[in-house]
Every structure is written in C-alpha cells, then in structure tokens.
Amino acid sequence: MLEIKHLTKIYDNTVLALDDVSFTVPQGQFLAVVGLSGSGKSTLLRCINRLIEPTSGQVILDGIDVTAAQPDELRRIRRRIGMIFQHFNLVLRSPVITNVLAGRLGYTNPMWSLINRFSKEDIAMALKQLDRVGIKDKAYVRADELSGGQQQRVGIARALMQEPSIMLADEPVASLDPVLAHSIMQYLEQLRDEGITVICSLHFLDLVQRYADRVVALKDGNLVFDGSPQEIDDERFKEIYGEEAQRIG
C-alpha cells in the first residue's frame, strides 16, 4: 500500500507544484493521474521515489517512510519502485542488454559495476524480460537503433529487472503513436494483473477509461478529483481541464 500524505512541493521557494496532496493506493491498483501539462503529474510521480525532493509531506510505502529515508535506505526503497518515462531515458549509445541490466544496479555491488559485470542470473533475467516485451532478438543492438515503441519496451524491461512492487509511468505513451500506445498500456495492465501497483500519468481519457481502475486528477498542484474513470463526465472534465477544453478521443 502506498500512502501519500499532505505532499507539497515548492520549486525555488516560489512555484507551487504540489499543494497538500493526499491519497492512498492499495497494492495492485492501476491508478491513472490526469491533468493539464504543468498540473504537477510528473512532480507527483517523482516525489514518490524522491527523484524530486518533496518540500513537505510524507510518502509511505508499506509502512516505510520514503521521505525520511537516509541515502542508503532510499536506494533500497527505490529498488522496489520501477519507473518508465515519456522519453524512455535509455542510454542510447549502450546496447539494449546493458540498458536492461541497469535495472539491476540497486542489487549489484558497486565494485562489480566498475568493471561492468553482472551475474549470470541477472543476464538470464534480462533476456527473459526482453523476451517478455517481445524484443529478445534486439538484445545486443545499440539502443539508438530501436524505434520509439521498442525503446519504451526496453524501458519496461529495465524497470521489471528491479522486481518492483510499484511501477511509476510518467506519460509512457505520449511520444508514441496510438497503436503502439495500446501495446505499451497492455504491458502495464499485465503488471497490474500480477499484483504490481501501477501509477501512470496519462493525457488521453480513452486510455484512462480503458485501463485504469481509478483516476486522480491534478489541477495547479491540487487534487481535484479522485474516483473511478466512469465518473468523469463532461462537467468533471471541464473542472479538470478548464472551461475551454474539448474532449478528444
């Protein structure tokens, strides 16, 4: 279970990105986070694994206070939180397999990392994860030779290497065409079915309504909606996205 309590983030003492956001996500839920660009979705996701340091408030994962964790403990917590990104964030000059194995770094002795060594089990696991996302044949290809959809699959495989209990997905399909978007979303759905909590920020409401169990909506850093996707009618939509917004898709 993930508890977000009074989470607030103020950038540079001036910009209020998150304003006292609280909600709780039970294990194994597919939670969609919606809102306009700049509404604080990315900040919220990054505060959960502290890629961004929250200004105040707490993030509690299975009873452990993530926000209070000291560096060593934080790294152990991060191992359990997978993350995929809008721009995939692969190391483009490295081979796919290295990118995937990087997901294992939290479990690897840093001394071995110095000589770029991973255990046999890790390599077998990486190939298995690549097989799972359907690009095992690309394992030894440089990451920049892959298409966008393939790169995002590498991103998923990398996150899965962490054996996460939560998967954070920051606009995972915003850089992909609709067909690819569905295939990526289906992988996330599978993870949910395996009991992994998925917290996914999304732009398209049809994707939300098709995949999410629950939606939270952010507007100017405030939580303005928390409920099931079906509850978002035109009125709610205008509340979240503003009066001028048009529903597309």
């Binding site: 000291q70 990104f85 964030n89 190391v91 840093p110 990392s113 770029n116």
Partner: protein, 609 residues
C-alpha cells in the same frame, strides 16, 4: 535654430570621436615603437637578406668533401736563388706564379690550369713551417676565385707584409670537391632526433594530463555536483574527519612502506617499525574469533579489508623498492635496451613516491563512510538540543582545523613565523566563525557541498589555464632542469586544467534522462556515473583528447624556448647562434609535424563524432 543645433552638436561629437581615435592610434604607435625608417637602413636590410636567404637554403644534405690542394713555392723576400719547382703531373691541376720571389706586400698573379670548369678556388699563403703539421693557411683573397670553362684561372693577390723567411714558402690553391652520394646533414640528423623527442613530449604530456583531467572533470561538472549535498551536521563532521583521515592515511602508509622497504633490504634497518604492524594483526585475530551477530560481522569485514590494504601497501612498497634497484642495475647493464631499465625505474619510483600520496588521498575519504553509517541513523533520533550542540561543537572544530590549515599554507609561502604560533589565532577565529554559523543555521539544512568543490576546482582551473605553458615551463625547468621533462610537466599541467574544463562542459551537456532513469533503479552515484554518464561522454572525450594532443604537439615545438626541450630548444639555439640554415631545417620539421597531426586528428575526430 532648434533643428540645426542638435546636428551641429552631432558634428562636434563626430569630430571629437575622430580626434579621440587619432589620439589612441598615435599613442599606440608610439608605445609599440612602430618606426618605418629603421627597416630602410641598408645594414638592417642586409641582415634581413642574410636571414631570409639562410632560411631559404635549409641545411638538409651534405656531401663528403675531398680537399684538393695545389702548391707553388715562393720566396719572400727575394734572395736570388729560385726555389726548386716540382714537376707537374699530367692531368693534375697546377698553379704557377708570375714571379718565384717577391717582396712582402707585393702583388703577384696566380695562374691555375687543369682544374674543373666553374670550380671555386681558395688561395692561401702558407708560411714556412718545419713540419706539415705546423703549417697554417692564411687567406690571400677575400672571396673564392671561380675557374673558367676550360678549367683555368688567373688572379692577382697581394702578399702579406710580414712572414719573412729565408726558406721556401708556399702559395696554395684549394678546391673542395664533393664526392659520393648526398647525405643527410648534421642539422637534419639533430632535427630528426629532436622532432621525435617533441612528438613524444606531447604524447606523454597528453597522457598524464588526460589521466588526471578525467576524474577532475566529473568533480567540476555543475550538473553532477549540484546533486551532492550533505546535511550541515554531517558536513561539519566530514570537515573535521577528512584532514585527520588524510594525515592518518599518510602516516600509516609511510610506516607500512618502510616495512615493505625493509623486506627487500632498502631503507633503515628493521626495528620498531616492523613491530608496529603487530597490534593490527592481533586486532584482526581477535575480531575473527568473535563473530556472531551482523554488527561484529561488519566490523570483521572492515578489519579484513584494512589488513588486505595494509598487506597490499607493504607488498607494493617492497615491489617498488625492488623495481628501483633492478631498474638501476638494468639501466647500466642492458646497453641498447637500457630504456627498459629506465622504464622500470620510473615506474617503481612512481609507486614509491605515489604510495604516501595515495594513502593520504584514501585516508581523506575513507573515514567518511563509516562515520556516515553511524550519523545517518543516529541524527534523526537525537533530540533537537543535542543535535544543535553536536552541530555547534563539530562546526567549531571544523572551523579551527580549516582555518588552521589555511594559515599553515600561507605560512609556508610567506614565512610569518613559528608554525605552532602562527596558526593559533586563525584557528580560534575559524572556530568562532563556524560556531556562530552553526547557531544560525538549522543543523538539518542540506548544504550544497558539491558546489563548494565545483567552485574551488573551477577557480583553480581558470587560474592555471590563463598561464601559458611557455611560462609554466620556466618554473619547472628550475625544478627539474632544462629539458623535455620540464616540458612534459608544464604541458601536462596545462592539459589537466584545460581538458578538465572542456571535459566537464561535456558532462554538463549530457542528457539528464538516463541519469534520472538509472537513479530511479536504486543505483548509487558511482553506478549512475558509470552507466548513465560515461556512455554519453566517451565520444566527445576522445574528440577533445585528440584536439588537445594536437595543441600539445604545436606547443611542444616551442616549449623549448622556455627550457622545455624538444625541437624548440634546438631552434632557439640555432637562431641565437645565427645558424639560419639549420634553423630553417627545424622550422620545416615543425611545419610538417604540426600540419600532418592537424590533418590526422581532424580525420579521426570526423570519424568518431
């Protein structure tokens, strides 16, 4: 009126501007002593001509010279009896004189036949000497005489007004004939030797520079260092513990190295220093015996690591000493291969000299992790007042140590007085300053420690980068003597600071996405650098390394002017000795090497980026 006055002012302003510009240029020309009269002086023009002609005739090839001498007897002053004339050999050149005796200072005509056409003939007067060895040749004509197309010449020369003798003296004609194939000249051979030295000078300097610039570049990259923060209390604790750790590391390694040196019979005879390692072993045994829970396991692992490190230091020191001795012997016995012995000697010296520095460096950082392991879980549990007091005490200590060290450094430069007295007041002031800071600041406040390192390194790099290697080499030449080693040091130092900056800018330009992603996996900072940063910076690093190697080759050709060895040293010597033809060879070699490396490095850089 209203309309005309602004335009009138504008004209006035323009006139003032023109006058100002004229004044500036007039002053500039005066200061720089531009003088168009001097270049027109005949004497200077002649000097210039000499230089340019010398440069246009590089001394590239030489021939073996066959010196042909032809003598004719003469008696000065006339005594009546003509000297015996040696019979002319058929086919050989001969000379005859208009008179076989003459008064001192008289003019006589020398006629030669049987020479080759167009040969240059020197005409000498050879006074009487008891043996051939004692003969001297005195030039009679200031220039050489050129033979006609039929191999004859005729020249009127004036005899010397002294050198009187009753014996037969000689008029001598000399022709220097080139024999055999052209050979590389002495200047060319020297140039070849020095240009090799130059290229390697640049190579070694670049290598040393790159090895040190790479780690520095990470510490001077804003985006990496911005993430490095430390809580105020922990930062103060680090400030206290780091100098202590560094000093202890140095002391321990020096002791251990002495033990190692004794093992191979170098250094002082074994005594108390060998015994010194014993408590360490005892400690290890005691720890190994008592290992039940995880805390003791951790301690045990630490002790084991320390013992391994200690043994490694002892062995390295022993190896270094052994290597030194072997290297010295090999250097004297290997003959042509002695450079291998030299390599071993240098390498071993580097180990022996580097060990204490390494010890200090490791010591500087090795006390931090265990301290953090204690402080990290402890600090959040402490009551607020205790935390404040702890921060206060640590800050005072840190201030005392920091300011004391700064005072000690300044004292070294300026020799204020006795060290123990000089550092007292700065230490007290530092303690008070940081203690006051600790009172104002929240002990849990995150301090951007990384940015301190960033600014210190950037300042150092910018300072040293602005000093040209040609200036630096002067200091190094005083330290290690004039020669290529001084050049290596100057170029190496400049390479470190220049590349450190260029490299770190490359680190700052990398895309942040992969770093974010790798950090999110739970990787630590080192792993993040290895997996997210390094793959992105390898190509630009290689490109900048080649670029710098290119610059270093160019710099190494002139570093000799400052005493740094290489071709520049030869060139400056040749110029000072007015040997322009030899200097010309040096300059051609420099041009070839610089141009070809320029081309090569551009090609390679094109390939990799």
């Amino acid at each position: 009126m209203n309309k005309s006055s602004p335009s009138f002012l504008r004209i006035l302003g323009r006139i003032a501007l023109v006058v100002a510009i004229i004044i500036v240029y007039a002053f500039g020309l005066q200061v720089t002593k531009v003088d168009l009269e001097k270049p027109q002086e005949a004497k200077r023009q002649e000097q210039l001509t000499n230089i340019l002609r010398g440069l246009a005739h590089p001394d590239l090839i030489s021939y073996e010279i066959d010196r042909l001498t032809v003598d004719a007897p003469i008696i000065v002053p006339c005594t009546g009896t003509p000297p015996p004339i040696p019979p002319a050999e058929a086919g050989q050149p001969t000379i005859s004189l208009s008179s076989y005796c003459a008064q001192p200072g008289e003019k006589i005509t020398v006629t030669g036949t049987g020479f080759g056409p167009g040969e240059d003939v020197f005409i000498f007067f050879v006074p009487f000497a008891p043996t051939v060895k004692d003969e001297v040749e005195l030039k009679l004509a200031s220039n050489t005489v050129t033979t006609n197309s039929d191999g004859t010449f005729s020249e009127e020369v004036t005899l010397k007004s002294d050198r009187l003798s009753e014996n037969v003296q000689k008029i001598r004609a000399v022709v220097n004939r080139r024999v055999g194939a052209p050979q590389p000249s002495e200047a060319l051979k020297q140039t070849w030797e020095k240009i090799i030295e130059t290229v390697f000078l640049a190579f070694i300097a670049t290598t040393f520079g790159v090895i040190l610039a790479v780690p520095i570049s990470f510490l001077a990259a804003r985006n990496l260092m911005l993430q490095v923060t430390s809580n105020f209390t922990r930062f103060m604790a680090s400030l206290v513990i780091m100098p202590i750790g560094g000093y202890l590391g140095y002391l321990i390694v020096v002791k251990l190295a002495a033990v190692g040196a004794q093992l191979v019979g170098a250094g002082p005879p074994p005594g108390e220093t060998a015994l010194w390692a014993l408590p360490l072993v005892g400690l290890a045994v005691a720890q190994a015996a008592s290992s039940s829970n995880t805390f003791w396991k951790t301690i045990q692992r630490w002790v084991l690591a320390i013992i391994i490190a200690a043994v490694a230091v002892v062995l390295l020191s022993a190896l270094g000493q052994l290597g030194r001795q072997t290297g010295l012997t090999l250097k004297q016995t290997l003959g042509a291969w002695s450079f291998f012995g030299n390599f071993l000697l240098i390498f071993s010296d580097a180990i022996v000299l580097g060990l204490p520095a390494l010890g200090a460096f490791v010591g500087l950082f090795s006390l931090n992790p265990p301290m953090n392991r204690i402080l990290e879980p402890l600090l959040p549990k402490l009551p607020r007042l205790t935390k404040r007091i702890l921060a206060f005490v640590l800050a005072a200590l840190a201030g005392a140590i920091l300011f004391g060290l700064i005072a000690a450094t300044l004292n070294w430069f300026y020799e204020f007085g006795e060290l123990s007295q000089v550092i007292v007041w700065p230490a007290i002031i530092g303690a008070v300053l940081l203690a006051v800071l600790a009172l104002v600041i929240d002990p849990d406040r995150e301090i951007p420690t990384g940015m301190f390192v960033y600014y210190v390194l950037r300042t150092i790099m910018n300072t040293f980068r602005s000093i040209e290697p040609l200036v630096m080499v002067v200091a190094f030449a005083v330290w290690v003597g004039i020669g290529p080693f001084a050049g290596v040091m100057a170029l190496g130092l400049h390479t470190i600071v220049a590349l450190g900056k260029l490299y770190s800018e490359q680190v700052e330009n990398i895309s942040t996405g992969p770093i974010e992603a790798i950090t999110a996996t739970g990787a630590n900072r080192l792993q993040t650098i290895i997996y997210a940063v390094i793959p992105q910076i390898v190509p630009p690093y290689i490109a900048f390394t080649l670029y710098r190697w290119d610059i270093n080759v160019r710099m190494s050709t002139i570093i000799g002017f400052g005493g740094g060895g290489g071709i520049g040293f030869l060139l400056s010597q040749n110029i000072n000795l007015l040997k322009y033809r030899q200097a010309s060879v040096n300059m051609i070699a420099i041009a070839i090497v610089v141009a070809s490396l320029d081309y090569l490095s551009a090609k390679v850089r094109e390939k990799i980026t």
